[in-house]
């Protein structure tokens, strides 16, 4: 497969006073599925459009494979059509006055394939996206999901070296999103293409990607494999952004008990062992743990009380008040917890994260090299 990796080196972009991208660097491996994840306005779309050549950064270098497409202080700028990449838009951007067939054939004709090859390639790609027989229809006669498939086929048909996608599923309803996610995954597997994918939906990012780059305010805060980013986020922002329900964050102080370091909530109602971390008694920390990683046990002596119970179907979501703030625990629907029960909350040591309350960055474990990329 003729796919390329991407190097983003110190890219900055600003519109007047607004800093859209602030010295962003990222190495994207060939054949990977990399998601730029972040809230709206974080710069992810600007970065994607810069890759496509639809925006011109103010500084830095962009490489696709071993070809520089932007750099040398702007002296090098390869126009979009020479970058050999595909871009799928949120709004599908299908040409409304052309049939599905014509939409896909447009790029092929520009690549000077002959009529027979165009016909074969259009049919092949309609087949790949499961829309054989829809060629004669106009975009307005298709559902949103079908339109997005056509948009994908249109960009895949010209065999790009890299495929870019800008929130391609955001205009679709929830059910369709799940099925198209599976389809995107299948297409990524069969084509082996390098995909750069932009979304604000962390579930999409988790389920699709081989790598996730979490962005905020024009910077990349964390970059790595989805499981790592989810389980050991590099900053409080990343921890908070990933996961629904959100991660629990409890402001605590390190205390020593029986020779072991414990993180204790400010009101003293809850504590957890943090032996694995490089901290000393008296330190202030933020303890972060995921709702599904909690272990609850009934205990009449515990000062923690179940405040509310929500049934979601597969799970129970319990809220407890620690230090006046809610923490959420997710347990099995058969666990049978009820309101006003007193419980203890513990967390397996390897699933605990500690953050520095000032820098908001994660605190390293003893002996680990950390995940600060």
């Amino acid at each position: 497969m003729n796919t390329k990796g991407i190097s983003i080196k110190h890219i900055s972009k600003n519109w007047g006073d607004v800093q859209a991208l602030d010295n962003v660097s990222l190495e994207i491996e060939p054949g990977s599925f990399t998601t730029l994840l972040g809230p709206s306005g974080c710069g992810k779309t600007t970065l994607l459009r810069s890759l496509a050549g639809l925006e011109e950064p103010n500084a830095g270098e962009l490489w696709i494979g071993d070809k520089m497409v932007f750099g040398n202080e702007g002296a090098v700028f390869v126009p979009p059509k020479k970058r050999n990449l595909g871009l799928v838009f949120q709004s599908y951007a299908l040409w409304p006055h052309m049939t599905v067939w014509e939409n896909i054939a447009f790029g092929l004709k520009l690549k000077e394939y002959n009529a027979q090859e165009v016909k074969e390639l259009v049919e092949e790609h309609l087949n790949i996206v499961g829309l054989s027989g829809y060629g004669y229809r106009y975009p307005s006669e298709l559902s949103g999901g079908q339109q997005q498939r056509v948009s994908l086929a249109r960009m895949l048909s010209v065999s790009p070296e890299v495929l870019l996608m800008d929130e391609p599923l955001s205009n679709l309803d929830a059910k369709l999103r799940v099925s198209l996610r599976a389809e995107l995954k299948r297409i990524h597997k069969t084509t082996g293409l390098t995909v750069v994918y932009v979304t604000h939906d962390q579930i999409e990012a988790m389920s699709l990607s081989t790598h996730i780059a979490v962005m905020q305010n024009g910077r990349i805060l964390d970059y790595g494999e989805p499981d790592r980013v989810y389980q050991n986020p590099s900053t409080v922002f990343v921890a908070d952004f990933m996961g629904n329900p959100q991660i629990n964050l409890v402001s605590s102080t390190i205390v020593e008990k029986n020779g072991k370091n414990l993180a204790q909530s400010q009101d003293g109602t809850w504590e957890v062992e943090v032996e694995a971390f490089d901290v000393a008694p008296g330190d202030s920390v933020i303890v972060g743990f995921r709702p599904e990683d909690t272990i609850l046990e009934l205990s009449d002596d515990s000062p923690l009380k179940v405040d509310t119970v929500q049934k979601t179907g597969p799970d129970l979501l319990l809220t407890l008040l620690v230090d006046g703030n809610e923490i959420i625990a997710r347990t099995d629907k058969h666990s049978g917890f009820a309101m006003d029960q007193c419980v203890t909350v513990s967390i397996p040591p390897e699933l605990i994260n500690l953050f520095n309350p000032e820098s908001k960055k994660s605190i390293e474990r003893n002996g680990s090299s950390g995940n600060n990329f």
Binding site: T45, P80, F89, Q90, A93, P96, H97, F106, M155
Partner: protein
């Protein structure tokens, strides 16, 4: 409980009586009452006049008795239709001329409107604000302002007029066909109507999702190919639609062909209706009016059926990324300057010359020594223009101005209130036949050219009619005509205003016991007010510059300014006519400016 017992006891008849009761209940409801009122008004002011001209064109009049000895007055006859629609000079020649003028102007409008909308919307042209303003300015003025300016510039003794600007300064006498006839009508109509296409196409170009063009760019298309294969096809329906509507406007226009066609004996359908009416041959005038209405209706039907809806490419609300503007590069400033100067020569210069000619004491003498305020503030001089005094000190003009504003104001208020009622019944009864009928009738006046509309009102109310006294020569006749002709405008603003008022707001008041009048006063009107006011202002601004609708309805006692201006031109008092036109243009611009300011204010509020 009552209905229940009836429905069980009456077997097969129950369904019908249920339905009847339900309809009656509905009719008795607020929506029903308002709808009933609206329909009655619409029938009285739009449907009956239409039926009336069909009937009049098909019945025997006193004048016909000579030719139809066996008939008696009021009998049905095809006499007028046959006389009209088999005649070359009466019908087919004006028809052909109408299509020549309409077709020629439409082509020119499309070229001019399209290129200007492209440079303003999609390039990095300089002076965009000024050029954009010059592109809508003609539309805010009376349609025949450019026709009068044309005459001032190109007239000469060779065509039986005084010396124009061109001849005075260069000695060149423009050929007759250039001064009067189809060509100047086409040029002048183009200058007046191109803004219409410009605005529609520009809006369409600006609303294209730029991602459609970016996709093509990524796939390797050049800028020219993108323009040809993506941009233009997407806006094509808008262009076509605007062109078709512009054609129907030019077809129905009266004043320009009257001023520029008549001296060359060049007649179009609208001027033919006028002269037939002037000669009292109403039945034939009505026959031609019907034909004109039919053509107009066909054109608009074609637009709505085949262009407007099916092929409209509503763009999906993507991210509103900024359009990538076409760059002229080094040519940017020169090109911008050329366009700016060209627009200045085409739009501003004629108007300046028109205004200047009103300061010439002796007609045809363009020398500065002839400069005079006589026609503006001078007392009457028996040697000039039958002793008429300057327009600002002329009581007849002040009466005309007062009359113009009074008609516009009353018609505007009536339209505003009535538009709210139309909006109320159409929106509240959405999906029912009643709403459809109201909506459709409310649209009809669009397809009736103003001159035909005036002719109908002239005949219909020349004698007393049920509920109304004889209206000929009265102020109210002008008001009714202006009101009825502009119902489509207020339908649009009224419906869109009502769309924004949820039915729950009114229902909540209903549950607290508020009656119909109270609900309109306290809930509906305050919420719909911006829309209602917009509708009123639209009617006022367009009525002030209206001529075709009123020209047939005029009597010396109830003149409006536009008609006064044309009358001065007819009696040879060209400077007075031009002075008055200048005054009307200024009035129109002030009104349009006021509307714009009010609109942007209310937008900021809401």
């Amino acid at each position: 409980m009552n209905t229940h017992s009836i429905s069980t006891s009456q077997g097969s008849g129950t369904k019908l009586s249920w339905k009847l009761k339900r309809s009656l209940r509905r009719l008795g409801s607020t929506e029903g009452l308002v709808a009933l009122f609206v329909i009655i008004i619409l029938i009285y002011f739009i449907v009956l006049p239409l039926i009336f001209i069909v009937y009049e064109s098909l019945s025997v009049t006193v004048d016909d008795l000579r030719k139809l000895p066996h008939a008696s007055v009021g009998d049905l006859t095809l006499h007028h239709w046959i006389r009209t629609f088999t005649s070359w000079s009466r019908f087919f020649k004006p028809l052909l001329n109408t299509f020549i003028v309409g077709g020629g102007a439409t082509i020119a409008i499309t070229i001019m409107g399209l290129s200007l909308s492209w440079v303003v919307a999609l390039t990095d042209l300089r002076f965009k604000r000024v050029i954009g303003f010059l592109c809508v300015l003609p539309y805010l003025m009376p349609s025949w302002a450019f026709a009068m300016a044309w005459i001032e510039v190109f007239k000469h003794q060779g065509v039986g007029r005084s010396t124009g600007f061109l001849t005075y300064y260069t000695g060149i006498q423009a050929p007759d066909w250039f001064v009067f006839g189809p060509l100047p009508i086409i040029i002048v109509s183009t200058l007046h109507y191109f803004p219409f296409l410009y605005l529609m196409v520009k809006a369409s170009l600006e609303n294209i999702d730029s991602q459609l063009e970016e996709s093509a760019e990524l796939l390797g298309a050049s800028r020219f190919l993108i323009l040809k294969k993506i941009t233009m096809p997407i806006v094509a329906p808008a262009i076509l639609s605007a062109a078709v509507l512009a054609f129907s406007r030019v077809m129905g226009t009266f004043a320009t062909p009257a001023l520029l066609g008549a001296p060359a004996r060049f007649t179009v359908l609208s001027t033919q209706i006028y002269s037939l009416t002037r000669f009292g041959r109403m039945s034939e005038a009505f026959s031609i009016a019907l034909a004109l209405i039919a053509f107009s209706a066909i054109v608009i039907y074609i637009n709505n059926r085949f262009i407007g809806t099916r092929k409209s490419f509503a763009t999906i609300g993507g991210k509103g990324t900024k359009q990538n503007l076409f760059r002229f590069g080094k040519a940017r400033t020169p090109i911008s300057l050329v366009i700016l100067i060209l627009m200045f020569i085409l739009i501003i210069l004629p108007l300046l010359l028109l205004a200047y000619s009103s300061f010439m004491r002796v007609v045809g003498d363009w020398n500065l020594s002839n400069f005079s305020l006589h026609w503006w503030i001078g007392a009457g001089d028996p040697k000039l223009a039958e002793g008429e005094s300057g327009i600002l000190v002329n009581p007849a003009i002040w009466r005309g101005a007062f009359n113009t504003i009074r008609v516009a104001l009353v018609a505007g208020l009536m339209c505003g209130v009535f538009g709210l009622f139309i909006g109320y019944s159409v929106v509240r009864l959405r999906g029912t036949k009643v709403a459809y009928i109201i909506d459709s009738i409310g649209f009809i006046p669009i397809v009736i050219p103003s001159i035909a509309f005036g002719a109908v009102y002239l005949s219909l109310y020349a004698i007393p009619r049920p509920f109304l006294p004889m209206l000929y020569g009265t102020f109210m006749l002008l008001v009714f005509a202006a009101f009825a002709k502009r119902i489509p405008y207020t339908t649009r603003t009224g419906v869109s205003a009502m769309h924004q008022i949820g039915v729950e707001l009114e229902e909540a008041a209903k549950l607290m016991g508020a009656g119909l009048v109270l609900r309109f006063r306290k809930i509906i009107y305050p919420l719909a007010r911006p829309g209602v006011i917009a509708g009123i202002l639209l009617v006022i601004t367009t009525t002030v510059r209206e001529l075709s609708l009123f020209i047939l309805l005029m009597t010396p006692g109830n003149r409006v300014l536009t008609v006064q201006s044309l009358t001065y031109s007819e009696i040879g008092a060209q400077q007075l006519s031009n002075a008055l036109m200048t005054f009307i243009i200024l009035l129109s611009l002030v009104l349009a400016g006021t509307v714009k300011t009010l609109e942007s204010k209310s937008k900021r509020k809401g």
